[in-house]
Assembly symmetry: D2
Homo-oligomer: 368 residues x 4
């Protein structure tokens, strides 16, 4: 209830701070009998980890995960799965200069006001480093959902600062540092980031994620609707300021005759719904877009105040992502997977197992 | 857990269907000693109720609320407050023609798939009529928050279909059927709606809501962040497809030097944060925008399927809102109030009562 | 979280006070498709209702239940089921004399201290009248569990004050006012109660309840163990001071060789476990005993204090049960049913549906 | 929801198995600013740890706790506190002989039925070893409650098998292996245990626990009553079969005139209530008794079945407690502390901070 557990039936309780001894989580509610080892989890962590290109923080972490419990002879037992990741590269002195001042746009100020104490090392608990345990937990969910329903998750960056990235193909995503589904635009993105870094500034990004082969019937209206829970999960990712499902904000100017996806014996035509109607999955792809704000830890000097309320100028040194959106794609995929996993279990509690023969979905336009 | 309770410490458990005997809710967790009667609740219900202009559904409901419990000699006792609203104008025959077919863009299809049974009368549980008990419950939250912190809530429509509505003044909002903060544009909105109704079509809308005098420190990271919970609450409103906090999707193209609201001894300068940093309220105004899709129940014929999977043409008659966004403003205000109320209690559980002397906020630009 | 919701997946949220307008509840999470009407619920309420013999409170209430939602054409739809019972016989003046004083052994004192306000009419929210909505909700659970697994619930009084009631046969239970499984002892019980009433005093009771045909596998260790949840449910009934599962306190003096129920190909031999091992149902009968304290509202004068802390003498007039245990049997059955229902859903969320072919249970000794 | 989190606002999520790599927990909701280090926790673990006398399991574990997160510069920050205890002495071969058979009275059978898989090493998740993380977490709660209200917790064994242990003085408790509040009886207890061990048998025990200086007003009726939650916590401890609050089962034969604790200007007289009325703490001592069954892992051969349902004879070798009650006292104290901590936070969420000036309690008889 203090907010560090995600989910209701498939729960992920995380712990740790950016520069503490370790980060990790306890996953409770995983169905028994799932074949599981670190090999299933590490690749997702590797997609998210820092230090892999010059465009992200240079902190070096292997992010090696250790399963401490819940698995016996290679299978989940239905008991809690604890995942541990030791912090390796802490260098907390980098952060000493922000002890008494507040960075504009950063959580410093509110943590200090709320708790009366705050761990300033690397942002403490508010650091995006805390998305690592979630990505690890989601790897378990992804494996189960894939086995059970064939569900898959993909994501890509569709905008970096002012640069819109046209969708070309999913195959490009693993081949560039930006998770862009477009190979040709990568040099332009790199130049943009280099300029930004030179200027001591940061920028935002848009990330799109898609879940395919989602069974019909997931979501618990009228409050724990699937899209409501997705919005909660996505807005809870560090730096996210907006969430769209399906047509999102484009729905405002649409007419009803245009927006409603026609049903045919072969499936839905189009996907303005983004895979959710009335808060319940339709069997269409679930499509989500999020807006990520520019990082608040930047080198450029800015006016702020200190803890006594006096005016100061703040400059942030140290190792920071100039665009947290660059590493956000695997995180957004993870959050979506956790929501679907949780609702798969919730749905079968009340309604029994879903029928997997979801209606065939008619060909859809590419993501955007 | 089946999804019909909103909140964790200030909980609202609703019941009822569009055309059942009654709708209502049980509010649990209200602090004791609050002066409360129906007079505090009815005005908010009246702002939301149907049949008040030609631009909304013509269903006639007085939406009269009765407090059944939890109040003794005019004060809350700390025990559950049950609120009951009898349905009056049901006319369920209007909906007979949709029994065996599914409206494109409507929850019909998924309810039937999920539960194997569905109440077709007026959309049953999926009807926007079910926002009435929430508006009623939120009136209690609003009163307590106002007494405790001086917090207030306002909202307006800022776009209707293609028509952007420039913000003029809050004083216009109660004086037109659209909750527009602009008097001059009202004739244009009326013409737009008349044309739409003539065409048997529907349109979307954008609603903005603001909470003022919010204490610093509300929100429970790292999952139950204040903005995450707001996103959950807003996306859970019928027909919402997108949610923004503060600068929202505009953050993508902003630079860090531009986005981060400077702190000064007099307060924050600007409000790109929308009143939330790191998932915790800053003391700035909380600003939220939502995208509402066009209504799916329209007169224009559309292709669909019946329950056997055969192709059919669907036309929806009966009394429907051609733009559910028109009545959405008080609903969005209500959801925001419920989130803040819940987090006010959650915050004081762990951290004790918040200090009300929040930093003075520097003058801000109007909403848009 | 304020404590008025019972259960986690099959939830019952109650409202109302002894002398308010109405009492009732919202049942959320009921599986869809269950045939249900008031006819399924009323008989259980009738078993519990007051005024049916001279040994219980003379308050006259028909306790007529009305289903307000969640049922369409005679079947549950998976949406919340609201149950309403109007209070009829209130006579609140009877209670005027306890406004400013506290009855020894009564909740008066703590409600006033906790909430700073209390509804003195008939004990307000702390009245045993509030068990009526739970009995109503449990009737739904009982019907579903019986259909799904053949599970049944029975209970009886096994001690009244000093009088131990030897178990003879379940068939006697519906034929006397005490729910005694023994016909011969009834005159003695009646005399005991008449003497007690004459003396202006009250007494305690022991109630035994049994669930039969319980599937193996219900219970969520290591905290939400089935027996832990049963203990919670039973200790939460008004006036309960002790709970035993299976051999209960007799286990203390047992040896391991005696206590552990042997397993045979035909089933378990004996039932010291009371149907639960390691917090999970074994397929044996679930057997529970509870201790009910004597009613605190008695005519005999007793020393106490008033709200200012001054010494006073308290006498309670009005209509009170001289032994709340007399009507407790259907309540204890109801609580047990709610726990099993909740855990049936919880179990299938994580583990899928239980196999109903539970091991045959060897002949067991009668209840005591 | 899968049952491995204890509490609602002060939550303890545990993980681990008897012979896995590690056990531990995540404590969420701890108020910020509490001075905390391993030194506050280790002594409680030491009171519970195995191998400290010949009367308990000979497994050697240092049970050294490591705080992984949630503490910065010696103070809690309000973020999750992760506690890790590595398992050292595993010797899992000891348990090989129970892989395919079920011990009468043991959780083997139900874990296998529920999950379809079970970790047989030392009882896996069902082992009483899993009480260690709870004892560790409770040390934090105890420290906070003591600072805030002066609340203290004590417990003792009051019966071992057939031997009733008269209460003499709390000062004896730390000076014998049994947590007996009586020095003279210790040789008799030792002889009893030696005989039992010689016979390859086990026995039960009764444990009493008391909380003193509990503020008035804790408990959330009408379901999350303080005594209901205590019953849940206690019945959830391994091997517990019965729970009493205050007069417990003695209430049955009491009269109302005898049972109700009189209120005087100096406080309550007597404590049949056990410190709870109407589910809310009264300010009296909270007194709880629990019945612990004899251990199921005994050397004496007993009839059982194997996984195929064939009859077998089971003998259990290895290192087991012949009376799990011997180490249960610190565990029962811990569970009581966790319940009070959780309700202290819950109470202040709805009602604000409790007034600590609880009524003075008149002299009370010794525990029994």
């Amino acid at each position: 209830m203090a907010g560090n557990t995600f989910g209701t039936l498939f729960t992920v309780t995380t712990f740790g701070e950016s520069h503490g001894k370790a980060i990790g989580c306890v996953v409770d509610g995983c169905p028994p009998g799932l074949v599981l080892s670190e090999v299933d989890i590490q690749p997702e962590l590797d997609r998210r980890k820092p230090g892999t290109s010059r465009h992200v923080t240079q902190r070096q972490e292997s992010d090696t995960v250790e399963i401490l419990s819940g698995v016996y002879e290679g299978k989940t037992t239905g008991t809690p799965i604890a995942l541990l990741i030791r912090n390796e590269d802490q260098r907390s002195k980098d952060y000493g200069n922000i002890l008494d001042t507040f960075r504009p746009g950063h959580a410093d100020y509110v943590y200090w006001h709320k708790y009366g104490i705050r761990d300033p090392r690397g942002g403490g608990r508010s650091s995006a480093r805390l998305t690592a345990p979630v990505v690890a937990a989601a790897a378990i969910a992804r494996k189960w959902l894939h086995q059970q329903y064939g569900t898959t998750f993909q994501g890509c960056m569709s905008q970096l600062g002012e640069i819109v990235i046209p969708f070309e193909s999913w195959e490009h995503v693993p081949n560039n540092a930006f998770f862009a589904a477009n190979a040709a635009i990568v040099p332009q993105l790199e130049q943009y980031m280099d300029d930004l870094r030179g200027a001591g500034d940061s920028c935002g990004a848009r990330i799109d994620v898609v879940a395919q082969n989602v069974p019909v019937g997931l979501g618990e209206p009228i409050y724990d609707k699937l899209d409501a829970e997705i919005a909660y999960a996505m807005m809870g990712i560090n730096a996210v300021k907006g969430v769209e499902i399906g047509a999102g904000f484009r729905s405002i100017a649409q007419k009803g005759t245009e927006h409603g996806d026609a049903l045919t014996p072969e499936g839905f035509v189009g996907n303005n719904a983004g895979g959710v109607l009335g808060g319940i999955s339709t069997g269409q792809d679930i499509t989500v877009s999020i807006a990520i704000k520019p990082t608040s830890s930047i080198r450029s000097p800015r006016p702020s105040i200190d803890r006594a309320g006096n005016p100061v100028t703040v400059e942030t040194f140290g190792r920071h992502d100039p665009c947290v959106g660059i590493r956000a794609t695997p995180i957004a995929e993870a959050m979506l997977a956790l929501v679907l996993m949780d609702h798969a279990l919730r749905n079968r509690a009340q309604c029994g197992d879903v029928k997997v023969d979801t209606p065939k979905i008619a060909a859809q336009a590419p993501l955007k």
